[in-house]
């Protein structure tokens, strides 16, 4: 089972941490993007299974990027990543049809939870 990921975050240490976790879990196909515009371009190019999308980015923020991605790839599984685990952010993400939400700093268990949900919702589980 392979799951390809696209990590979208302006902070390089977050990108590398998450990438290391995914590799540790056995998912080696990891791409990264440093901002929203890059993310949209990369997404078209590599068609990742799961997109890890930071909300607090300069320029096009995570919510705006989410809206754009939903137009180009409605079927993509998008997990929002944020330093603010507020109910307001969670609700807004879900309204914009995000598929998951994790809060920085995140643990392996949280990342696994998102991947489990992806497998479950795409019927690839088990």
């Amino acid at each position: 089972m392979t799951i390809s990921s696209l990590i979208v975050d302006d902070d390089v240490s977050t990108r590398s941490t998450l990438a290391a976790m995914l590799r540790q879990l056995g998912y080696l196909q990891v791409q990264t993007a440093g901002n929203g515009v890059d993310a949209i371009l990369k997404c078209v190019e590599v068609r990742p299974d799961v997109i890890w999308l930071d909300i607090e980015m300069p320029g096009k923020d995570g919510f705006q990027t989410l809206q754009s991605l939903r137009m180009t790839r409605p079927e993509a599984f998008i997990a929002m990543v944020s330093g603010h685990g507020t109910m307001e952010y969670v609700k807004r993400s879900m309204e914009l049809k995000a598929n998951g939400f994790i809060v920085k700093p995140f643990s392996m268990a949280k990342v696994e939870g998102i991947l489990k949900k992806y497998l479950h919702e795409t019927g690839r589980a088990g």
């Binding site: 977050t14 941490t17 939400f101 949280k110 939870g113």
Partner: protein, 699 residues
Amino acid sequence: MSTKKDITDDTRSQYFENLYRWFSRAIRVGVDISRSNWGEGNISVEQLLWSARPHLQEIFNFSSSAFFSISDQDNSFTMLSCDPEDGRAEIQSEVDCLIDQGMFAWALNQSRAFVTPARGSVRTLILHPVATRSRIRGMFVGIIENDSIDLNEGSLSLLSMIMLNLSAMLESAETYEYVRMQNDNLEKIVAQRTGQLVEARLEAEHASRAKSQFLANMSHEIRTPLTAVIGFAELLRDNHSLDEQQRRQAIDTIVRTGRHLLTVINEILDLSKIESDRMTVEMIPFDPFQTVRDVESLVSVQVCDKGLDFAVDYRFPLPLRINSDPTRLKQILLNLCGNALKFTERGGIRVMVSFDVAQQLLQFAITDTGIGIAADKLPKLFDSFTQADNSITRQYGGTGLGLHICRHLSELLGGSVEACSTPGQGSTFTVMIATGAVADTDLAFSLAEAENRRAGVGQDDAVPDHVLSGKVLLAEDNEDIRNLVRYYLNDPALILDWVGNGEQAVEQALSGHYDVVLMDMQMPVMGGVEATAWLRRAGYAGPVVAMTANATADDRKQFVAAGCDGFLSKPIDRRTLRRVLVGYLAQTRNGRDDKVHGYLEEFAEIRQAFIDGLSERIRNIQIAQSERRWDDLCSMAHQLKGSAGGFGFDVLGKIAAQIEHKVRRLEFDGLDVLAQALAAAARDGGAAQAGMSTGGVGG
């Protein structure tokens, strides 16, 4: 009036003299009849006629006479009396004939005499109704030999007068009788009512006295311990020369009397609940042996202090599990045992436990060898405000409410309580409660079996009480339950965080790293079902255990649908809580430990890279600040904020957040100080991190 043509003066005077005599006699008869004393009581028409008949005979010389009564139902006529008796047939045949001709009915409606020749014309029939304006009572019928009497206008008027008079008397007698009867009735009713009033008044007076007595007792019951509390407290405050033992004694007294006061007040509250019908009981499954054991452990200490024996006598078979209210059952048993203890100086107390399989009633008989209760005091024993004897209150204390409360509680639990006693030898109080359906398989047939099976049940859900460790998030708005859970989970390596509503629970669960979330279902702002659903939508995979009271099967389905993994019913029991948690904590811990190992090595490298680059990042921030490049400053502070916390530099992250926050709000004062503070925080954080073996993002 018949006269003769050739009357002489003599015969004329003779005639008038006869006439005068006749009238004199007629008037005397009339007066005699009116004078007759009929005595008191109910007199009948026959009696009246019988008494009047000699007088009537003086005037009319009837060969026979009779009285016919008229039936109210069908207006038929019945001969009531006849004189002489052998004239009956003759009169009846004459009357039948008149009835056939319709003359009888006609005569009845006249208010005067009706004279007609009898059949065979030798005799004359005289009919006269006996009637008043209100009602017709019957008909007088007489037969006269044709030549025996001069039937003139006067004699017939006299007959009318007599008959009317008789009717009037009859009616007045009846009225008199009716009035007398009513009077008797009234007197009876008045006597009865007066009796009831007196009784009610006595009862009210008794109740009022009992209530006053109760208030006096209460006052006494509350004031006495308060005297001790205040007295000893003042002693402690004012007297500094007390030694340790005296202080200890004073404090013990305050605590003991305070507890006693609490009991008194609780009983008064229970009573007021009972009196306003607000007392409720719950129905939950529990182990009755445990209840008996709890009571035993509480009572046996006091029993030993008093030098008495205490024994529990189990009569098997007994159920291992029943449906009732364990708290209330314990309250009843403690109260009855407390009473037994209070009134017993020698001997002991025995509790016999038995089970009525047919009626599914669990029975506890508490027998003491105390002073006993007089037979006449037994019926009122369970009333409120009542002790068998008020002097008992003064001697033994107590509110006199305990048994009243016991009775109500046992009734609420589907049973009853009763007492029997022999004064001087002791008393037995028997309480029964409904157990709900108990299956045969839930019955134990010996104490050994009960102990074994209870132990078996225990092992099944036993927590080998090892030390739990891990992180637990408790979402619960009730502070008491939070405290209770904290008390139950006081293991040194177990971290328990709490939040007070569902929204906070979502935020905290997403942001923190918990092995399990205990989620109350009824919380303000956002309930547990909704919060769990949000967590699952956000891809939160950790276990969530629902906590709630009175959950139906449908409720539980709803919890599972929302994403709950487990369920804990309130009130929370320590063993069950730990049993549920040990599963989640153990699994989560093992699973993570295996996977975390390799990742940690990689993480250590990444973290080292972060620390290596840190001084340069901070320097860049300080330069951006001094050169007032706000956009750069904001962006760099933001990035540092996002990662510093993840590598264990919490203070650093917070300062970076402050810088970002200030710049965004265009508050540029004090930024230099904050920028300088970053360097110090980096040093401190680095030093702290050096001492840590693991940590950081992995949490």
